[in-house]
């Protein structure tokens, strides 16, 4: 196994992790500020991807498709927050799980109703397609590299938003004491709608970006959603920094495990059994990582509260 292959796989893991971060950041923000567990976050990812695929199909422009994905997910997010989610902030977690599970059913089947069961395709734009040469003679997909850059920029933007702006101060204050900032004259329900729409937009963006390398289909959101849960359990609920580090850990573990575990077992077993055992173990690697972190730190790496 050559060094080039290893570096390629590390880059793939980074790219996957950073897309997970876009999902996990929204989830962790929504939980941190509103105390809400949102299973329907995967549906917003799917809505972003479908909006992008439909727009790209109609206009042929990838940039417009991304704008459409952001807008569609944010608008649907805001509507859902105002109509349903708002009533759940004081409810038990069980009610939140159930109501957002109901939303998944409605969104998934609704999308199937509108777009049919066949997957849609979103093409990588010509200016981002093809390989690019990295130092050391490594050929890597330009689009995947662009995803890494976009994700890092979004992470930087989120950090700036929460640490350096007035809105960020309100968000952080809302995490600590919602009555107090309401008493100080901040319109808390508007703030909640805004945070939810922001999380939704991030999920929609992730859906659209990943939609160009995978197929756009109903049910694409939930596997990513569950991995994003693993990420925030590892990173600590409510912590954006935790979400970032957790995403990279999960992305790298999942990608590298899938490639290297079967190879590792081939050193000790005959090839057929090795790839079988290796791939079965690789599919569990992320969850084993999560268990280890939990045994070590029950509230996650950067979690302050349970």
């Amino acid at each position: 196994m050559s060094a080039i292959l290893i570096i390629e796989q590390i880059l793939n893991g980074l790219q996957f992790g950073i897309m997970l971060f876009l999902m996990a950041a929204g989830l962790t923000l929504i939980f941190g500020v509103m105390g809400l567990i949102n299973l329907a976050h995967g549906s917003l990812y799917m809505i972003g991807a479908f909006a992008a695929a439909a727009t790209a199909g109609a206009t042929g422009s990838f940039l417009l498709a991304l704008v459409a994905a952001l807008a569609a997910a944010a608008i649907v997010g805001a509507i859902v927050e105002i109509v349903v989610i708002r009533r759940l902030y004081c409810a038990a977690h069980l009610d939140q799980v159930l109501a957002t599970f109901a939303l998944i059913l409605i969104f998934s089947e609704g999308t199937r109703w509108i777009f049919g069961s066949f997957p849609l395709f979103l093409d990588v734009p010509s200016y981002l397609s093809g390989p690019v040469s990295l130092p050391g003679g490594i050929q890597y997909s330009l689009y995947r590299l662009a995803l890494i850059v976009i994700g890092l920029l979004v992470a930087l933007g989120l950090w700036w938003l929460t640490a350096r702006t007035r809105l960020g101060i309100q968000i952080r204050a809302g995490e600590n004491d919602r009555e107090m900032i309401a008493a100080l004259g901040v319109d808390i329900s508007k703030l909640y709608t805004l945070v939810f729409a922001l999380g939704a937009a991030l999920a929609g963006l992730a859906g659209a970006l990943v939609g160009a390398i995978q197929s756009v289909q109903v049910g694409m959101g939930e596997p990513v959603l569950i991995l994003a849960f693993v990420v925030i359990v590892i990173g600590g609920i409510g912590s954006i920094k935790g979400a970032f580090i957790g995403s990279l850990l999960v992305g790298l573990t999942d990608t590298l495990g899938g490639i290297f575990l079967p190879e590792l077992f081939k050193l000790y077993m005959e090839p057929g059994a090795a790839s079988q055992t290796g791939s079965a173990l690789a599919s569990m690697a992320v969850y084993i990582l999560m268990s280890i972190v939990l045994v070590w730190r029950p509230t996650g790496l950067f979690g302050a509260r349970a």
Binding site: A92, V97, I226, F229, V233, A306
Partner: protein
């Protein structure tokens, strides 16, 4: 308003009468539907022990359902193909005998519940929900990538397994087995709830600190509840796989975990008959709405939202006029 105990008996009797009527009217499909409802109810009764009494919102109970299913599938597969499973010095020849399969399903599920519980009960609240969901997904992906037992395609068995003295391929006889299991599980639930263990568990759900001050260990109570709960759901899985004569990774899917919670909520959380009423309504809805439109899940979603937002006690809550215990 009707008292809860006047609802329970008619529900159970209704199931039995429906099956007997269907048998006399020669409607085997109705019996199969009723058996399906009974088994979903059994799985949810299992979950209700953890969720209703212990307040453990497990979004990964499909793990136990699937383990039960695969316990059946694997044992029957080795028996029907006459290829014993070699595990080092241990040789498992497989079996078509239901009691042995059930025992295996119960033991495997209970043991897995113990392991998952030991890790996930270190946390509470949202963490617990997410972790159980994640473990469910772990088993799902494992079953897909383990190709010896069919991988993604699942595993079929040719004929239903045997129970001494019965012909399990006759729908009404198999229904009888499932129905009796459900009755036993309901008795277990009501006995547990009234036992010192159940009362302590109930208290641990409401105020864990107080339970701790009187010298009980809330974690141990919850762990035991989780194990019993997993074992019952595992039994349901073994029977469910036998009903379909097929087991596949979908029995591990997170949708199934969600649906089990849905069954409980439709009927009423923490109610003895909640899961039974929920399963009956769910299978009826699935059948009736499914005939009208391919997209019946949209309407199920709308009904669920309405229940969560406006009728928190579920059907039993509506009938009795009291919301159930707060979970």
């Amino acid at each position: 308003m009707i008292q809860e105990r006047y609802i329970n008996a008619p529900v159970i009797a209704g199931f039995l009468l429906l099956a007997i009527w269907a048998h006399l009217a020669d409607e085997p499909f109705t019996i199969t539907l009723a058996t399906r409802a009974v088994l979903l109810a059994l799985a949810a009764v299992g979950l209700n022990i953890a969720l209703g009494i212990g307040g453990l919102v497990s979004l990964g109970h499909a793990v136990f359902f699937g383990l039960g299913g695969y316990a059946m599938g694997i044992l029957a597969y080795h028996a029907q193909s006459f290829s014993p499973l070699e595990l080092g010095s241990l040789t498992i020849v497989g079996t078509k005998s239901m009691p042995i399969i059930w025992l295996t399903a119960i033991l495997v599920s209970a043991l897995t519940a113990l392991l998952i519980g030991l890790i996930s009960l270190r946390t509470t609240g949202v963490y617990f929900i997410m972790i159980t969901l994640a473990f469910g997904q772990m088993f799902f992906f494992f079953s897909i990538s383990w190709s010896t037992y069919g991988g993604e395609d699942g595993l079929s068995i040719w004929v239903r397994n045997d129970f001494p003295g019965l012909n399990t391929l006759v729908p009404i006889q198999f229904f009888g087995i499932c129905f009796l299991s459900l009755c036993l599980a309901l008795i277990l639930h009501s006995r547990l709830r009234a036992s010192p263990f159940g009362l302590a568990l109930n208290a641990a759900r409401q105020v864990p600190q107080r339970v701790e001050t009187v010298g009980l260990n809330p974690m141990r109570l919850k762990l035991l509840a989780f194990v019993i709960s997993g074992a019952v759901t595992g039994l349901a899985g073994a029977l469910f796989a036998d009903l379909n004569r097929f087991v596949s990774p979908t029995m591990f899917s997170w949708q199934l975990s969600g649906e089990l919670i849905v069954l409980i909520i439709i009927g009423g959380v923490g109610r003895l008959m909640g899961p039974v009423i929920g399963a009956a309504l769910f299978v009826t809805l699935e059948h009736v709405l499914g005939d009208m439109t391919d997209f019946w899940h949209v309407w199920l979603g709308v009904i669920l939202l309405l229940i969560v937002l406006f009728a928190r006690g579920g059907v039993i809550g509506l009938l009795t006029g009291k919301a159930g215990p707060h979970v």
